[in-house]
């Protein structure tokens, strides 16, 4: 074989290495959402208001509450938009928003500020010394149980990763913030120069995430779709404005839009914050005003009540059905479809009828986990 032939073969070999574009891994944004945005100013929510906010549910779930004898509740999105839920300066107490991915080399994300009141905040007793800043990016993430024996059936399905995004939370005094709100994201880094001219970088960010696996320093962050939160000391900092930076780490692949909910509440985060604090933060990308995406409130409800197997068996495409083990729904079907009549029957039993098990236990239906508009 001549050198010429060898060169042609080599060239072909190189070209075949380009048969994949990898574009599947680049999210394409739906709708018209900014990559960098400034929300404005949020008020500080009281703990009573937080309890009220956490009790909110979307329409279908509110109907279930009423059916069970409770009072109707509004959605978290409507609660935040209600003019009754503002602080003394008229600032909203929470916010739901959406971000598209940024262009190459540009940090994307959202910023907002909150101001420590001039008079000490008080819950009726001692002045409140800290506030808790929370952001929850869409939607829910869980670890699949893959134990070969005694698998945790609740998490037999894997999480569907392409509907999750990630925002990293930073908080610091506004005077140290280096970015231009709404134009360019910055940070809270400053410099100290000692008397011999040595320059040291100083981190003025104060958001130290100290909960569970997120224990660490200012740069520690939670993973995809997990709520991030940190306590900020406000004692003796009356009137001081703080800036919150929500730095886009990853955008969901399915729609290219990262939606989120965020708020600031009194207290040090202990015992008040988790994935279930902000619900309905997965928003419809093609609508300008925040509207929760179909079936995501039910997904969060399932996650918050540790009933992921039930939800995933009823709505397999909301979880990662392609990667689910074949027997992921065996225990679910044993209970809800004892006569092997199919998933529609199981769904009817679970959502509407309830069932009496072989052991004689009466199981109530759980319509709060059932998506009316679900199309598998």
């Amino acid at each position: 074989m001549s050198n010429k032939h060898l060169s042609i073969l080599f060239g072909l070999l190189v070209v075949t290495g380009c048969d994949r574009e990898g574009l599947d891994y680049l999210p394409v944004a739906q709708g018209d959402h900014p990559a960098v945005v400034d929300i404005g100013t949020l008020g500080i929510m009281s703990l009573d208001q937080l309890e009220e906010f956490k009790a909110t549910r979307f329409a279908a779930q509110s109907a279930v509450i009423v059916e069970r004898g409770g009072d109707a509740v509004v959605s978290p999105i409507d609660w935040c938009a209600d003019p009754a839920h503002v602080d003394a300066q008229g600032n909203p107490l929470c916010f739901f928003g959406q971000l598209s991915g940024s262009t190459d080399g540009v940090r994307g994300g959202a910023t907002y500020s909150f101001q420590v009141p001039s008079d000490p905040l008080s819950d009726g007793g001692d002045p409140i010394s800290s506030v808790c800043v929370i952001v929850d990016p869409e939607s829910v993430f869980w670890n699949q149980s893959i134990a070969p024996t005694e698998r945790e059936e609740t998490y037999a399905f894997p999480d569907f990763p392409n509907d999750d995004g990630d925002l990293d939370l930073f908080v610091g005094m506004t005077s140290y913030y280096t970015g231009s709100p709404g134009v360019e994201l910055g940070d809270f880094k400053g410099f100290y120069t000692d008397s011999l001219g040595r320059q040291l970088e100083i981190e003025y960010g104060e958001c130290i995430q100290a909960s569970g696996t997120r224990r660490g320093f200012n740069a520690a962050h939670a993973g995809r779709a997990a709520a991030e939160f940190c306590a900020i000391e406000i004692g003796s900092r009356y009137g001081v404005p703080f800036t919150v930076v929500l730095d886009t780490f990853s955008v969901p692949l399915d729609d290219g839009v990262l939606s989120y909910g965020t708020l600031v509440v009194e207290g040090d985060c202990r015992g008040v914050v988790d994935e279930c604090t902000v619900r309905g933060e997965s928003l419809e990308p093609t609508v300008d005003t925040p509207v929760a995406r179909d079936c995501t409130p039910e997904l969060e409800e399932a996650s918050c009540s540790a009933r992921m197997q039930d939800f995933c068996c009823l709505h397999p495409t909301m979880c990662w059905d392609e990667q689910a083990p074949e027997d992921a729904c065996d225990t679910f079907n044993e209970v809800w479809d004892p006569n092997n009549e199919g998933i529609e029957k199981a769904r009817d039993n679970y959502c509407n009828l309830g069932i009496t098990t072989a052991a004689g236990d009466e199981l109530e239906p759980s319509p709060e986990l059932c998506c009316a508009a679900y199309e598998g």
Binding site: D194, L200, E233
Partner: protein, 288 residues
């Protein structure tokens, strides 16, 4: 061809011309002096409560903490203190001193018995008997073993160290002699003196060496050694289970958190103009 080879070799050899002297970090060597009158301590007799002094005894010298700093500012406290950066957060009373490097001349060491936690400083004792004698006769608070009995023999002391610490020689016992290479103070007449090296410190022209001696309290304890659950190494030897105490990690960054009245501070910190020249630092200002 011969010329080309020579040129190639010369080119390759030039690759080895990099000198680590370009680094700004040095092992700075020097001497630490402490006047004898600064080593006089007052302790209380545990039995009677009577206060008395221990004088001219190298064993009464507490741990000495040395740092290389950009400078010292006399205006910050009632004693000379390194310059500080901005005050950050609410946990620290001052800003960070951002030391360039640091070293101890004697540090709190595990004393083999729980009763000796945070009592023994390295580089102060020549033998186990020296320890026993000092605590029995000078501090008047004898070494007590795990059974609650007084330790009277150096051989017994050594055996217990070896057994509970899984040791095989005195070289592994930091508080005996210069165990593990610890600097040892020598009697120089009016003062005690020890050699020291501050390893791998950043050096900028004008940097100073500053530090202080943590003077023993009246119960012969040290503010730079903290005791408590989970603090320090855990001894786990049959029914002897305790934590040995530890030195705070930030004591040279925030010295004012650990300096109290009675401690002795460097008043005139030597300037390091040449990192290859030895410095002499004198610890001579008692904070009253």
């Amino acid at each position: 061809m011969r010329t080309s080879t020579t040129l190639l070799l010369a080119l390759l050899a030039s690759g080895c011309a990099y000198s680590e002297d370009a680094l700004q970090h040095f092992d700075v060597r020097g001497k630490v002096r402490i006047p004898k009158d600064m080593t006089t301590i007052t302790v209380n007799d545990p039995e009677t409560g009577e206060a008395y002094t221990i004088e001219n005894d190298v064993r009464a010298i507490g741990p000495i903490w040395l740092g290389v700093y950009s400078g010292v500012d006399d205006r910050l406290f009632d004693y000379p203190h390194p310059e500080v950066g901005p005050v950050l957060g609410t946990d620290n009373p001052t800003g960070n001193t951002y030391p360039y490097g640091s070293m101890s001349v004697g540090r709190p060491d595990w004393g083999c018995y729980q009763t000796m936690n945070c009592k023994l400083i390295t580089g102060r004792y020549s033998s186990y008997d020296d320890v026993i004698e000092f605590f029995r006769d000078e501090v008047r608070d004898p070494v007590i073993n795990q059974l609650g009995d007084e330790v009277t023999s150096g051989i017994e002391y050594r055996e217990h160290c070896y057994e509970t610490g899984y040791l095989t020689s005195d070289q592994e016992v930091g508080f005996i002699g210069n165990g593990g290479g610890e600097p040892y103070f020598e009697d120089m007449g009016d003062y005690f003196e020890a050699e020291t090296t501050i390893y791998h410190t950043l050096w900028l022209e004008g940097a100073v060496v500053w530090g202080w001696m943590d003077t023993p309290s009246r119960t012969f304890d040290f503010s730079t050694c903290q005791e408590g659950d989970s603090l320090g190494w855990q001894v786990f030897y049959y029914d002897e289970q305790y934590f040995t105490g530890q030195v705070p990690i930030d004591l040279l960054n925030f010295p004012s958190k650990y300096i109290f009245q009675g401690d002795v501070v460097v008043q005139d910190p030597p300037v390091i103009d040449d990192p290859d020249k030895e410095f002499t630092v004198e610890i001579n200002f008692r904070y009253e």
